[in-house]
């Protein structure tokens, strides 16, 4: 660890788990190009309270340029 670059030595380390990105209760509508709430058929982002999809900035960091890669 003596030669570890200080930025790497100070980085937060966490276990990579299998992250289920699919918003609960939603299915992807390929033609609409958006996730739909399965109960109502509405676009998930238009649901009152928007409990569906969350944007990446509020989830695990991967750097904004990688778009979840």
């Amino acid at each position: 660890m003596g030669n570890l670059h200080p930025l790497l030595a100070r980085a937060q380390r966490y276990r990579r788990g299998q992250v289920d990105l699919q918003p609960p209760g939603c299915s992807y509508d390929a033609l609409a190009g958006a996730w739909r709430d399965m109960a109502t058929g509405a676009l998930a982002v238009e649901l009152p309270g928007r409990q569906g999809p969350r944007t990446k900035k509020m989830d695990i960091e991967t750097g904004e340029d990688q778009k979840g890669e």
Binding site: N3, H5, Y14, A30, A32, A34, L43, V45, D65, K67
Partner: protein, 319 residues
């Protein structure tokens, strides 16, 4: 026989898990704009053909036939990486790795539709991702920029002026994977004694004048429209990287001085972009430019700060 859909006016290049695009889709639908969203992980389930000379992209998606041509296409929302990082533990099969690279290239090759307005063009995004270029351009147009050095040989005199701490960060995103773990580096601080660590020599690092008494301001620019939000934790700005506190962070609309707002628009244009997520730090009455994210996120600000960025993006795409 697939149904023929109207020719798309807007093309969205994304991932199906890029939920920011769902906000744009919803706003485009409210406007009745014809769009096509192509997701990298779904392309193998479509029939896709690109004629580069005729500039015609045909797509059969979920039983519908789409044709993208320069005549109909007005704009492209490009939400894919402009390069793929090697994280060091790619467990994908050779077939998956091959397909991922080829589809990424396919999306970037759609840049041949250069009559359309790109948010952003991947070539411009690539050029604008570089922190040193960003800082130079920001300073050139008159923005206040913290004293910065990129070096693998930090010295007491150059880096930690007057014995104060400085902010240190990677020149690129600090993220590596190892043995099932992931490491992500946030902006941190270094003092003069930290400069003695010989391990700095192994990679270039950004050493920057620390702006401790600050409030972070996130500025989203779409063409000439500007939206700003301040980041607060327990009602105050944070001294370190706000992403370390994001579960408790609050976001509120922020009124930028007109001059700073104009500089943000100018910076985006100077970098050849139409969209940019700019990080500023407000200290006293001074706004410091920290960085710009050409593919920066914004959708969380729609809900958290009440900023109608989704509508602005849809307006820009459908013009």
């Amino acid at each position: 026989m697939p149904d023929t859909a109207a020719d798309p006016v807007v093309l969205i290049l994304a991932s199906r898990f890029d939920f920011t695009c769902d906000y744009v889709v919803a706003a485009l639908r409210r406007r009745g704009v014809v769009y096509l969203r192509l997701n990298s992980e779904d392309l193998a389930d479509c029939s896709v053909t690109l004629d580069p000379v005729a500039r015609r992209l045909t797509v059969v998606l979920a039983g519908a036939h789409f044709c993208v041509t320069p005549t109909s296409l007005r704009s492209v929302l490009f939400r894919r990486p402009v390069f793929l990082r090697d994280y060091g533990d790619d467990n994908r099969s050779s077939q998956d790795r091959f397909a991922r690279i080829q589809w990424a290239a396919f999306m970037q090759n759609l840049a041949l539709f250069d009559d359309a307005r790109w948010y952003n063009n991947p070539a411009s995004t690539y050029g604008a991702e570089h922190k040193a270029v960003q800082l130079y351009e920001a300073a050139r147009i008159g923005m206040r920029v913290p004293a910065t050095l990129v070096t693998n040989a930090p010295s007491h005199e150059d880096v930690c002026l007057s014995g104060r701490q400085c902010a240190v960060k990677g020149l690129d995103t600090v993220m590596v994977r190892e043995a099932g773990d992931e490491m992500f580096g946030f902006t941190t601080f270094a003092s003069q004694t930290d400069c003695d660590d010989p391990a700095w020599t192994s990679a270039p690092t950004v050493f920057q004048e620390a702006i401790r008494d600050k409030t972070d301001v996130r500025v989203t620019v779409i063409d000439d429209r500007v939206f700003a939000a301040e980041v607060l934790v327990a009602g105050k700005g944070v001294t370190d990287d706000w992403r370390l506190h994001k579960r408790s962070a609050q976001f509120a609309r922020h009124d930028l001085p007109e001059e700073v707002s104009k500089q943000c628009v100018e910076l985006v244009a100077a970098l050849g972009l139409r969209y940019g997520g700019i990080d500023l730090a407000l200290s006293g009455d001074a706004y410091y430019f920290l960085e710009i994210n050409p593919t920066g996120e914004w959708a969380w600000l729609v809900d958290a700060a009440g900023l109608p960025i989704d509508e602005a993006v849809a307006d820009a795409l459908s013009r």
